[in-house]
């Protein structure tokens, strides 16, 4: 080794200083650029979805004065049987005819009747069922307009003439008249949040899919969290390190990388064909998603168990705590925030999962809101998939709105994760 003088050493350091600083700047620049790119992508995505979907949260309604005329309804009293075949559509039609008395001719009348959603009759029936005293009286109510009307009215705010689409000139005239007199308004779209799916866009809602998603996630969480945590604890704290546990570890890592549709096929073969569990049910969906999220939860739980300082284990063991007590009293509380974070990330993945659920029949057209984990139901991402595939124009905005609901659920879950971690995290 040659002996360097102190000056020589200092000169050599100084010579490299500029390039070191340059590299550091470059590195920082790259970091900022990549973050900017990410933020931009998120912004574009959100603007696109919100600009398309925001209009789905309002819905054009039409105000009508309806008369519960026993003659028109064809019933004498309000009971189950008569309600079942009472002609509520007739009442609506009568109300429309009354509003526009000049309309004559079959074609024109049909055109007139199509102003209001054909779900209006059901609403009326429900109203009369709850208030039987209304029979023979009349009242003023708001009804959902047909989706074509809705599309036209919404397009009016964008351009002067609006987008007529399937709406005739004459119909447009009626719409403008109603709008002028305040009998046609855009109001908050409660239907979207209270109904299940429907072939009619104005009656289609997110409720069934949302509840289905929640049931499915509940099944997934209840199964995958305890099983995953127990497996992680066993592997990390109790299992001997030998070829078998190595094999298990490798397989868990492999499972995490298996395409989710494979889990769907597995679920179809095992849960539906072999155990004959009901198709399209959140129970089966939850089971399949449990298989899918288990590796994620096991891996993240093991990582958080590993991060508990060994000195804590030693301290507890040195006090004479049994292995079980070491885990329960010391390791688990410290690892819990990490485990929960992992579980919530797993749940978020499960929430957005579509492919395996298609395999077990959750793609069916489900109108009713499920009441339990064995009721047929659909889930949010599948609902989005179904709506995106529908030809009606009004489903476009509903698709985006459903995506917004899905994102809102995701963001809520992630916020919970952060909050839980902050709350449970303890320093040592």
């Amino acid at each position: 080794m040659t002996d360097l003088t102190q000056t020589q050493v200092r000169e050599r350091i100084a010579a490299r200083l500029a390039s070191r600083h340059r590299k550091e700047k470059l590195f920082r620049g790259l970091g900022i650029a990549s973050i900017a790119f990410g933020v931009l992508a998120v912004l574009v995505l959100f603007t696109d979805i919100i600009s398309k979907g925001a209009s789905a949260f309002v819905q054009t309604d039409i105000q009508l004065q309806v008369t519960y005329d026993p003659a028109e309804l064809g019933i004498e009293q309000v009971d189950e049987e008569s309600l079942a075949w009472a002609n509520f559509d007739g009442v609506i039609r009568a109300a429309l005819r009354e509003r526009f008395p000049d309309v004559s001719g079959r074609r024109d009348k049909r055109e007139l009747y199509s102003l209001v959603s054909n779900g209006a009759g059901f609403e009326l029936r429900e109203r009369l069922q709850n208030h039987p005293e209304l029979l023979g009286k009349s009242e003023t109510l708001w009804f959902n307009a047909d989706d074509d009307v809705d599309t036209y009215v919404k397009s009016l705010s964008k351009s002067e003439d609006g987008f007529l689409g399937r709406t005739s000139e004459q119909k447009a005239q009626w719409i403008l008249t109603l709008r002028e007199s305040g009998e046609l308004k855009k109001r908050f779209n409660t239907t979207f949040f209270t109904n299940g799916d429907s072939r009619e866009p104005e009656q289609a809602g997110i409720r069934a899919a949302l509840v289905g998603s929640l049931f499915t996630l509940l099944v997934t969480l209840v199964l995958s969290f305890p099983i995953g945590v127990a497996a992680a604890i066993y592997l990390e704290e109790f299992a001997p390190k030998n070829r078998w546990t190595d094999l298990i570890e490798v397989n868990i890592n492999n499972l995490a990388a298996v395409p989710s549709i494979v889990f769907g096929l597995l679920g179809l073969a095992i849960f539906i064909n072999f155990f004959e569990l009901p198709r399209s049910a959140p129970l089966v969906g939850g089971l399949v998603l449990t298989l899918m999220t288990l590796p994620t939860i096991i891996i993240s739980s093991r990582a958080s168990l590993k991060s508990v300082p060994p000195s804590i284990r030693e301290a507890a063991m040195g006090m004479g705590a049994s292995r079980m007590q070491v885990v329960l009293h010391h390791v688990l509380p410290l690892a819990m925030p990490g485990m929960l974070t992992g579980a919530i990330i797993g749940m978020a993945q499960a929430l957005g999962e579509t492919a395996p659920l298609l395999m077990i029949g959750m793609v069916a057209f489900i109108v009713d809101v499920p009441h339990g984990v064995t009721d047929p139901s659909t889930v949010l991402p599948v609902q989005i998939f179904l709506w995106a595939d529908s030809p009606e124009r009004a489903f476009v905005e509903r698709t985006s709105a459903a995506i917004m609901v899905l994102l809102a659920v995701l963001i809520t879950m992630n916020t919970c994760a952060v909050w839980l971690r902050k709350k449970l995290e303890r320093r040592w």
Binding site: R313, A315, G318, M319, G320
Partner: protein, 304 residues
């Protein structure tokens, strides 16, 4: 320093060779001589007086292995009742390994195997029916790095009594906590903040908290593995005082890197070298008139 240990390491029975000539040129002349001398010393058995009459812990022909590697070679030693025995020796000579085999903390290390006869009050420590839980309650441990639980000061001390079911009532537990903290000389400093986290204390206070935690279950033996190595001189002095007081009620085995500390707190000193127990004697004898050449080399600072 490390090269010396390494070279001395080659002085096992298998290969008996002289020091590496390449590094020789770089080191001071006198040290070379000392090392060359040490290198050729073979440790055969323990000199001094490893046994005593009233032994609390007694170890005979202890061998400890980590997988294939042997960390402790045929060590026999008695630790007398209410006695402080210091274990000294260069880094990596197996002091911690030996200490941890006394309360079976080595059981928790994968691949670690302990052979030999170890008894506590005449009962085998590694007997087939021995439960480590009560054993560790009888033989407590204080570690090198203070490691309080991330819980309150109170809960730290109360943990042992709780898991062993020692206190039946809350008042009794309170009393145990207070007494333990008093005996560890920490009570006055923490009595107003028992519900604050133990990890918020200073290093020296944390170590005294760990001692309080260990004595809360009234152990018979306390093992200390370099308890002061992470502490400043003032905190160290406090712990040393404490050890001296604790001797009245407990039997203590302490590993230390500081020879002054060994001299101050212990009655007997054991010198380990490369997994072998070289010499055991009264502390005074070891530090003033060591019997073995290696001991002398170590205490005079020629390696370590």
């Amino acid at each position: 320093m490390t090269t010396m240990t390494l070279n001395a390491g080659e002085a096992g029975p298998a290969e008996d060779q002289t020091a590496n000539p390449a590094s020789e040129s770089a080191v001071e002349q006198s040290a070379v001589k000392a090392r060359a001398a040490n290198t050729n010393i073979e440790v055969t058995g323990t000199v001094g007086s490893p046994f005593c009459d009233d032994a609390k812990l007694s170890m005979r022909n202890v061998n400890v292995f980590y997988g294939e590697a042997q960390a402790i070679h045929d060590v026999s030693l008695d630790i007398g009742r209410n006695q402080v025995v210091a274990m000294i020796g260069p880094s990596g000579c197996g002091k911690s390994t030996f200490l941890r085999s006394l309360n079976r903390m080595n059981d928790t290390i994968e691949g670690c195997r302990v052979e030999g006869e170890l008894t506590l009050d005449g009962e085998a420590i590694y007997g087939p029916k021995v439960d480590v839980v009560p054993l560790r309650a009888r033989v407590g441990m204080v570690f090198q790095k203070p490691n309080p639980f991330p819980k309150s000061i109170y809960d730290n001390v109360a943990y042992g009594p709780k898991i062993h079911g020692i206190a039946s009532r809350r008042a009794e537990l309170d009393e145990i906590v207070e007494n333990s903290l008093r005996r560890a000389g920490l009570w006055n400093e923490v009595k107003d903040r028992l519900d604050k986290p133990g990890t918020g204390l200073s290093g020296g206070q944390q170590q005294r908290l760990c001692i309080a935690r260990a004595i809360a279950v009234s152990p018979e033996v306390i093992l200390m593995d370099e308890p002061c190595s992470a502490l400043d001189p003032i905190a160290t002095a406090r712990i040393e005082e404490l050890i001296d007081e604790l001797r009245q009620n407990y039997t203590i085995a302490i590993v230390t890197h500081s020879m002054q500390q060994a001299a101050r707190v212990s009655q007997r000193t054991a010198y380990f070298h490369l997994g072998k127990l070289v010499e055991v004697n009264d502390t005074e004898t070891v530090f003033t008139n060591p019997e073995h050449e290696l001991t002398e080399a170590y205490i005079t600072g020629r390696f370590g």
